[in-house]
Amino acid sequence: MTITDTTAPQATRRLNTSKAMVEAIAQEMRANPEVFYLGEDVGRYGGIFSSTTGLLDEFGPNRVIDTPISETAFLGLAVGAATEGMRPIAELMFADFVGVCLDQVYNHMAKIHFESGGHVRVPMVLTTAVGGGYSDGAQHSQTLWGLFAHLPGMKVVVPALPADAKGLMAAAIRDDSPVVYMFHKGVMGLPWMAKNPRSVDVVPEGEYVVPIGRANVVREGSDVSVVTISLSVHHALDVAEKLAGEGVSVEVLDLRSLVPLDREAILASVAKTGRLVAVDEDYHSFGMSGEVVATVAEHDPGLFRVAPERVTLPDVPIPYAHSLEYAVLPRHDRIEAGIRAVLR
């Protein structure tokens, strides 16, 4: 596998995150006839969140396949096809929908390789849209990456930036283990949803692979470490820029993968700053933010110059009304408050 973790020097072409994701899928489909994409509205529609735009035109309905609304059947189909050596990419339209098909995900996709003693591989990608911020209510706004990451047997990647969306997709398709690829609707650069300017950025052309399990320091700093993932990376970078004007140096670590988790990168950043803010758009308890804090505490609690902060979604279903939803999401104001809390 070609590992190219840095942007090529000449790369200047800019894409939004969804186009970067699609470019990787198309490149892998051209290179490997065993790769195919299936899910709901992934054909003519191009994916509700533009995850497959243009793929049907190039690859046709035998490789870009609209399915019935039968997640158990088509995710299970992907599992079975993967055990026979194909490389399916199966899309679960919203991560919130995993409730109707969780058995195929965690009892089959994730466990077959282990149960077979390594004799049967399941090289598939489960793509799914996550996240809130646009008043879609409690059943269409969750991130749930902590749930997937908690259950052993699947790798979990959550790109925040366009280049990583491309590189992690290529890595996911090539991986011989099942990979859950979670894309936040708010990072895709959709024309019909409020977007951060960071959802459009330089994306390398040609083959580009970002290794799974490696975090990325997207902004270097010396006073405080914000360790986060997905759309919160965009927010954290905004806050870091603002606080730089006050002379506060914020480091932003984009984990990019939750499984495997780059614990070394977390430790290295906190060892440098001594102050940790874990920002997580998933539920507060039993999830990523706690895992980040525990990673440091178990290694050396002396790294903390002050007690760490967690800026998360409280343990409440995500409310519909805009005022309520923005009260619970980890957005700029709460991230800034978290940073100020550890600077006291």
Binding site: N62, T67, P68, S70, T72, A73, F74, L75, G76, L77, A78, V79, G80, A81, A82, T83, E84, G85, M86, P88, V100, D103, Q104, N107, H108, K111, I112, H113, F114, E115, S116, G117, G118, H119, V120, R121, V122, P123, P152, G153, K155, D175, D176, S177
Partner: protein, 331 residues
């Protein structure tokens, strides 16, 4: 092997009997080993073969009749009660038994157990979750179809599974995409302690095939010849590219849901020995002049020799090293 509506010939019938004898001999050996050291009393986690154990005695006609039409290139997905299907599909008995004993030479190096037998050589797998073996079979069939082969996937569940969503989603998708799948339902009358009459709104699950526009057939009376004929039609249809079929077989669970099940809920216990399909079939073949007592004895002896060799292999295989407990999570 060609299938016809006229039923199996003598050679096929001898083979069906031989397969059923091998399956039963195997289950009797596992029964013996399972209970050998569970005491004092019954501790499910103790012994050479620990954990839940779901044995298939009585259901051999399904395995023999269906798998006679398959080669090791065809896939089979089975249930929490998989041994008869694995054996009839040609799984290596030694690797299978070592897995059931939780040993390093097992199919899954001791990670799976008897409900999780995965064999790439025969494209066999099973799942302990009711009806959830159907969806992966769709994917195996999808791969066979896309590669232009005439290979088929056979997906087996019990009658309780026909009330699960996975069952119906799978039938619809397979019919829609004309996937080469044969859906098999082993109706043994009982979902653990709940009779079919208390779980299922229709007398025959085969009628549910009509909802998806595919052929549905029910074989009564655990008749292996009729299973063979019906499975032949379904497999031929799948191989020809004409899509899936649903086959339900009214079979019998001669023993408990799992070992240790006292079956106090079951009024027909006394009549079960009379419903054993193997002596019944032996009598039919003897009457027809296809088998005689000496041939039956030879088959039983040969089966016993193979099974005992597999048990000995399993017992001789090492237990997995605890320091390897975290291996194989990822490829």
């Amino acid at each position: 092997m060609s299938s016809t509506d006229s039923g199996p010939g003598a050679e096929v019938r001898r083979g069906l009997y031989e397969t059923m004898v091998l399956c039963r001999t195997y289950e009797e050996a596992i029964l013996r080993e399972y209970h050998a050291d569970k005491g004092p009393g019954f501790d499910i986690g103790k012994g050479l073969v620990p954990g839940e154990m779901h044995l298939s005695a009585g259901q051999e006609p399904v395995a023999a009749g269906v798998c006679a039409h398959l080669t090791s290139d065809d896939a089979v997905t089975a249930t929490h009660r998989p041994h008869h299907l694995a054996i009839a599909h040609g799984m290596d008995l030694e690797a299978m038994t070592a897995e059931i004993f939780g040993r390093v030479d097992g199919l899954g190096r001791g990670r799976g157990g008897h409900m999780h037998l995965f064999d790439p050589a025969t494209h066999f797998s099973c799942s302990g979750i009711i009806a959830e073996g159907y969806p992966p079979a769709l994917g195996m069939a999808f791969a066979f179809q896309r590669r232009g082969t005439d290979r088929v996937a056979v997906a087996v569940t019990g009658e309780g599974a026909a009330n699960q969503g996975a069952f119906h989603e799978s039938l619809n998708l397979a019919a829609l995409w004309r996937l080469p799948v044969v859906f098999v339902v082993e109706d043994n009358d009982w979902g653990i302690s709940v009779p079919r009459s208390a779980s299922t709104a229709v007398p025959s699950n085969a009628t549910r095939a009509a909802a998806y526009g595919i052929p549905g057939e029910r074989v009564e009376d655990n008749d292996v010849d009729a299973v063979w004929a019906a499975a032949g039609r379904a497999v031929a249809r799948a191989r020809a590219g004409d899509g899936p079929s649903l086959l339900e077989v009214h079979t019998v669970r001669l023993w408990g849901h799992f070992e240790g099940d006292a079956q106090g809920y079951r009024p027909e216990l006394a009549e079960l020995p009379g419903r054993d399909p193997i002596p019944r079939y032996a009598a039919r073949l003897t009457d027809a002049g296809i088998l005689d007592a000496a041939a039956i004895d030879r088959m039983k002896a040969a089966a016993s020799e193979r099974v005992e060799a597999a048990v000995a292999f399993a017992k001789a295989s090492a237990l997995p090293d605890p320091s390897d407990a975290l291996d194989f999570v990822f490829a």
